[in-house]
């Protein structure tokens, strides 16, 4: 059976298994490695990592579904995350979100058909002094207003 990840990732997961006093702890870091390589966590990946660690696939799937940062479907090349929680909302996050949806042509939580963008409103990113705050993949921007967002998106394209 072929691995759903590259052999190098498989080896890195083996290293993780030895790193922690209990193997179970390897699950979250292993999921990150898988997602780094493939962009998301597929069912096949869940079964694979379950087998590596000695967990049931149901358990692994339950863990994946608990954490918002693990994607169970592929996301756009640019994963645009706009904070919606109160300190950002007080500084215009709602309007920014509406603008982003229009600009990108997707609804909150959707991936554009061409796979270029995903848009998501997310909870507090811990940067309330730079509200409204935006994270795109692992790049951070704040404060961002609608025209600022346009600039950012243009630079990324």
């Amino acid at each position: 059976m072929s691995l759903p990840v590259r052999p190098e990732t498989d080896r890195r997961i083996d290293d993780l298994l030895a790193r922690f006093p209990q193997k179970g702890s390897a699950l979250l870091p292993a999921l990150y490695l898988i997602q780094e390589e493939t962009g998301w966590v597929s069912e096949a990946s869940m079964e694979y990592v379950a087998g590596k660690i000695g967990l049931s696939p149901a358990f692994v799937s339950g863990v994946v579904s608990f954490y918002t940062m693990f994607h169970r479907q592929p996301v756009g090349r640019q994963h645009v995350q706009i904070c919606r929680t109160l300190p950002c909302a007080l500084r215009g996050a709602d309007a920014l979100m509406a603008h982003a949806a229009k600009r990108l042509g997707v609804k909150d939580g959707q991936t554009r058909a061409d796979g270029a963008y995903s848009l998501a409103s997310v909870e507090c990113l811990g940067a309330c002094d730079r509200a409204p705050f935006v994270q795109i993949n692992d790049l951070e921007f704040g404060p961002v207003d609608p025209s600022g967002l346009d600039d950012i998106l243009k630079r990324l394209e």
């Binding site: 790193r19 006093p21 179970g24 699950l27 979250l28 918002t68 109160l86 507090c124 309330c128 692992d138």
Partner: protein, 427 residues
């Protein structure tokens, strides 16, 4: 009021995250001192004497928490650093992690020495990508210079620090949910007792401390408990504090000051006052979204644990949020209620079902579909959640609902009566 920056002393230095800059500025002297001059037990006593209280939100005396560890050594001890900063309004740990990781790391090493643990886990929220990279680098630097690893500075003390990334769950900032997540599971808080100091990570005695708390340990290691305890409002509210302020202010940010500064000083002198001159202060939450709101008339308070408790709220994570007169309180509460409904782990009945119910009622009120019984219903639901849950998340939703309704009841009833938001209706 001039105040010597202690926690923020390095953050404006270029390259402050590097060990060279840290060392040049006098870093790791504290660690050297305690490794040479203190036994672990003495160091615990020192931290107790300093009056340091946890900076994560609960304000529990740190030295006392450490002393709950059992005497026996059959099981290894663990130190977990809670870097899961997710309380809305809070961004102070991020500042330390990104701009002065060694200040935190030195405190981690000293604390691990005090509680005699040899493996520490730095649990950082997944969204802090930069912080993750920065802290991993700091650990590598520290190991290369002999501050981590075996026989640190020739003291015979060994320590490894492992960074563990969370993956997007506010609840994992709760101590035992953090442990569950660290063990590779869903972040479900555990039934207590037993408490983590007795049965924690992998069933072993474990101490969980906040990032800022550990940075304070560095200060105590450098200059001692007596010096530390004189800062702030001794004896019970000691030390410097990182205060966050955001929302409708001119200069949102993190400001360091001794515990006990007046909120209005933080607002007007540090944060530059209200954002819009025509919109005065309406309300503020001093301690992060889970703490009770203070209407403007009650904002003349001192920012420390006991003063805020006496004022009917809490210092919490010091995540101050400021709302001006243009804020619809019902809308603000709805925003937070959605946060809590999204972040509820779903383990226990009151929180799982209650948060969703609260959102549904508030949504109706917000869009003009309110009913006369809604306001009392909200207060009653909050009452039935509070105190009945596995973890303090129950209080985290109940306190805002209870306090916003109490402090701004008219606004809620207005929504119900008018079937519209008075603010949007231009009232």
């Amino acid at each position: 009021m001039a105040f010597e920056p202690l926690l923020t002393r390095n953050i404006h230095r270029p390259g402050s995250e590097s060990i060279d800059v840290y060392l040049a500025a006098g870093g790791y002297q504290g660690l050297k001192r305690v490794l040479k001059e203190f036994t672990p037990e003495k160091l615990v006593e020192e931290v107790k004497a300093s009056g340091l209280r946890g900076r994560g939100g609960a304000g529990f005396p740190t030295g006392m928490k450490w002393s709950f560890l059992p005497k026996g050594r059959e099981k290894p001890r663990y130190l977990c650093i809670n870097a899961d900063e997710s309380e809305p309004g809070t961004f102070k740990d991020r500042l330390l992690i990104e701009k002065d990781p060694h200040l935190v790391l030195e405190g981690i090493i000293a604390s691990a020495y005090a509680i005699e643990c040899h493996t520490a886990f730095f649990y950082i929220r997944g969204e802090f990508h930069q912080g993750y990279r920065t802290f991993e680098k700091a650990i590598a630097e520290a190991r290369a210079r002999g501050f981590l690893g075996k026989n640190i500075l020739g003291s015979g003390f060994d320590l490894e620090v492992i960074v563990y990334r969370g993956a997007g769950a506010y609840i994992c900032g709760e101590e035992t949910a953090l442990l569950e997540s660290l063990e590779g599971k869903r972040g479900y808080p555990r039934i207590k007792p037993p408490f983590p100091a007795i049965v924690g990570l992998y069933g072993c005695p474990t101490i969980i401390n906040n990032v800022e708390t550990l940075a304070n340990v560095t200060l105590i290691a450098e200059r001692g408990a007596a010096w530390y305890a004189a800062i702030g409002r001794p004896p019970k509210n000691t030390g410097p504090k990182l205060f966050c302020i955001s929302g409708h202010v001119k200069r949102p940010g993190v400001y360091e000051a001794p515990l006990g500064i007046p909120f209005l000083e933080l607002l007007n002198e540090h944060a530059g006052g209200m954002l819009h001159p025509s919109r005065p202060l309406k309300a503020a939450v001093p301690g992060g979204s889970s703490m009770k709101i203070l209407p403007a008339s009650k904002c003349d308070v001192l920012l420390d644990f006991d003063s805020l408790a006496a004022a009917g709220t809490s210092l919490g994570s010091a995540g101050g949020m400021v709302m001006d007169s243009g804020t619809c309180i019902v809308g603000a509460l709805l925003n937070l209620a959605r946060f809590y409904a999204h972040e509820s782990c779903g383990q226990c009945t009151p929180c799982r079902e209650g948060t969703g119910w609260i959102v549904k009622i508030l949504s109706r009120l917000e869009r003009g579909d309110g009913r006369p019984e809604d306001v009392d219903r909200l207060a009653d639901i909050a009452f039935r959640i509070e105190g009945n849950t596995v973890c303090p998340f129950g209080e985290a939703i109940a306190w805002p609902v209870d306090s916003y309704v109490k402090a701004f009841r008219d606004e809620f009833e207005d929504h119900a009566r008018r079937h519209a938001c008075p603010m949007r209706a231009g009232a």
